[in-house]
């Protein structure tokens, strides 16, 4: 595709109808809670939008985020939008390698200074030797790439909050992008992996309105992460009735009852899984019979066991409670003995006086 081609040109070349495109714009606009008239404006702006330069940095990650986006489902407008961006640098997807790849990144930074987007997946190890690309540490590459960026979009929980690399004992001393980059707008699109529509939704809004979406206190777009999965879950009525699956193969599990007791983290997880769903709206983890693991939340890997319910306390072993009971009883007995001795001594004094 030519560098100056618009998104409209791309859609036309792929045979996407105007109706399908407007449908996409309406869906995206409503999902992002934009005003009703925005869909048309979004369609016009998107059609005319030039390819934005994007540098995608992959650090301590598993490539699951890229996989989720590129292999989400049959070719859709979301994936076309992803194809549309000028992905000037992406370890996994770029054809170039070695010096040519690094040169492409530097050239993109220089040519689009102040305008390009940096998309990051993966956390950054503060022990810099733990992860390097072309001999450059992740931290140095992130700082250099963000220096003249318009904004940073963290794709996945690892980039947003550290994710699995940050889990105890965090051997690489991994941190999130926001722990290093402080002077750029940062949008977190967490998830393990994040929902493709959340990624493209943020990019679409940036392309059409030229501004970033409204974010929650954890830097996530409210449109996708503003609602509790438990509140949106189709199994919620079973929770309200007190009908729970006790194991993964009991009657409750077969009847599709609530997975709360099997460790579902939906009550403390905020994401769009329950209403947008995955694979073109086919299903999501809870629908396929497994509890939510709360992957869009900071520190989700250390939130307690995957199969421990959210109401479970973290006590370690009961030894401390046993020791406390013994100590309490010993202190009580000691206090009583002291008091009796004091009383006996007082009586002794009384009898001596008489």
């Amino acid at each position: 595709m030519a560098e100056r081609a618009t998104f409209g040109d791309l859609l036309h070349s792929r045979g996407v109808s105007r109706r399908a495109f407007l449908k996409f714009c309406s869906t995206t606009a409503s999902l992002m809670a934009l005003p009703a008239g925005t869909a048309t404006a979004m369609a016009e702006a998107l059609s005319a939008a030039r390819r934005p330069s994007v540098i995608w940095l992959s650090f301590q990650e598993c490539t699951g985020c890229t996989e989720a986006l590129t292999r989400s489902h049959a070719p859709t407008l979301e994936s076309l939008l992803f194809n549309f961006i000028s992905l000037d640098y992406h370890h996994t997807l770029q054809a170039a390698s070695g010096d040519a790849a690094e040169h492409a990144r530097e050239e993109a930074q220089h040519a689009n200074s102040g305008e390009y987007l940096v998309l990051v997946d993966g956390s950054i190890p503060l022990l810099e030797y733990c992860s390097t690309v072309a001999g450059i540490s992740n931290k140095a590459m992130l700082v250099a790439a963000c220096e003249h960026a318009a904004a940073v979009i963290n794709i996945g929980t690892c980039a947003a909050y550290g994710g699995i690399p940050v889990a105890k004992p965090n051997p690489t001393k991994a941190v999130a992008v926001g722990d290093i980059i402080k002077d750029k707008p940062i949008i977190n699109v967490p998830g393990c992996p994040p929902m493709p529509l959340a990624i493209t939704g943020v990019i679409a809004q940036y392309l059409t309105l030229g501004k970033l979406p409204q974010l929650d206190h954890l830097g996530r777009p409210v449109a996708f992460f503003g609602e509790n999965i438990h509140d949106r879950c189709y199994r919620r009525p079973f929770y309200d009735r007190g009908q729970f699956a006790e194991t993964f193969d009991d009657e409750g599990a077969r009847k599709g009852w609530c997975l709360y007791k099997l460790g579902c983290k939906a009550p403390v997880a905020y994401n769009a899984c329950a209403h947008i769903k995955w694979n073109n709206g086919v299903s999501f983890p809870i629908q396929s019979g497994h509890g939510c693991i709360g992957c869009s939340e900071p520190g989700f890997w250390d939130m307690g066991g995957v199969y421990q319910s959210v109401a479970t306390g973290k006590f370690g072993d009961g030894a401390k409670l046993g020791a406390a009971a013994t100590a309490g009883a010993a202190l009580g007995a000691g206090a009583a003995i002291l008091a009796r001795r004091r009383k006996a001594a007082l009586h002794g004094e009384d009898s001596a006086e008489h």
Partner: protein, 216 residues
């Protein structure tokens, strides 16, 4: 560490240690202070039996006092029974107790749990209203009001967490656990120890009266 992690981990753990150590400290500390033997001849041959019977006979005031005490007695019963059902009947509570003890049992449907929580809170409010409107009867101290607030907080935060009122659910859940932790840590050193003392104090009163031949 998030607020919820703190509440579910160190806070509730420390409060349980204080609860267990505190209850045993007070129980052993007081019970080991045995009274000296009463050398007088008992006027009732069944004194011991009647003393222990008092533990049960005082579950309801004597009929002479019905008019004066029916309101607070009924409200106290509603509160205690509803609070007990909430503590041991709601599924998240059972999950918590199971994680601590390994024991588990079927939970109440949520609608019943919410009804019990609301009843418990309502009766608690009814009791404080009486206390406030009859200062001469109760002769309340600041500690009484603090105790009331510490008992009411877990009910308020629990109902709010369930209804998703106020802050986000995980914050409300953390506040609920922290309020329970406060209750646990406060319990052994306050009037809330009546949960244990009522048995011993009733038995002691019964024994003393029976020894003197007083019919109770």
């Amino acid at each position: 560490m998030s607020l919820l992690d703190f509440a579910r981990g160190p806070a509730i753990h420390a409060s349980l240690i204080i609860l267990v150590a505190g209850i045993l400290l007070r129980l052993v500390g007081v019970l080991a202070l045995t009274r000296g033997a009463d050398l007088s001849r008992p006027r009732d041959a069944f004194g011991n039996f009647k003393g222990y019977r008092t533990v049960f006979s005082r579950f309801w005031p004597s009929s002479e006092f019905t008019t004066a005490t029916i309101y607070q007695t009924a409200m106290a019963y509603v509160f205690h029974l509803a609070a007990l059902l909430v503590v041991v009947g709601i599924v998240p509570h059972i999950e918590f107790i199971t994680s601590l003890t390994g024991f588990s049992w079927p939970g109440l449907p949520n609608w019943l749990g919410v009804a019990m929580g609301t009843l418990a809170l309502g009766s608690l409010i009814a009791l404080i209203i009486r206390r406030l409107s009859h200062p001469a009867v109760y002769n309340s101290t600041v500690g009484d009001y603090i105790t009331w607030a510490i008992v009411a907080l877990p009910l308020v935060t629990g109902l709010m967490a369930f209804a998703h009122v106020g802050p986000r659910y995980e914050t409300m859940l953390a506040l609920h656990i922290l309020s329970a932790a406060l209750l646990f840590a406060y319990m052994p050193f306050s009037k809330l120890m009546h949960a244990f003392w009522f048995i011993f104090s009733r038995a002691q009163s019964g024994l003393a009266y029976a020894h003197k031949g007083v019919r109770i």
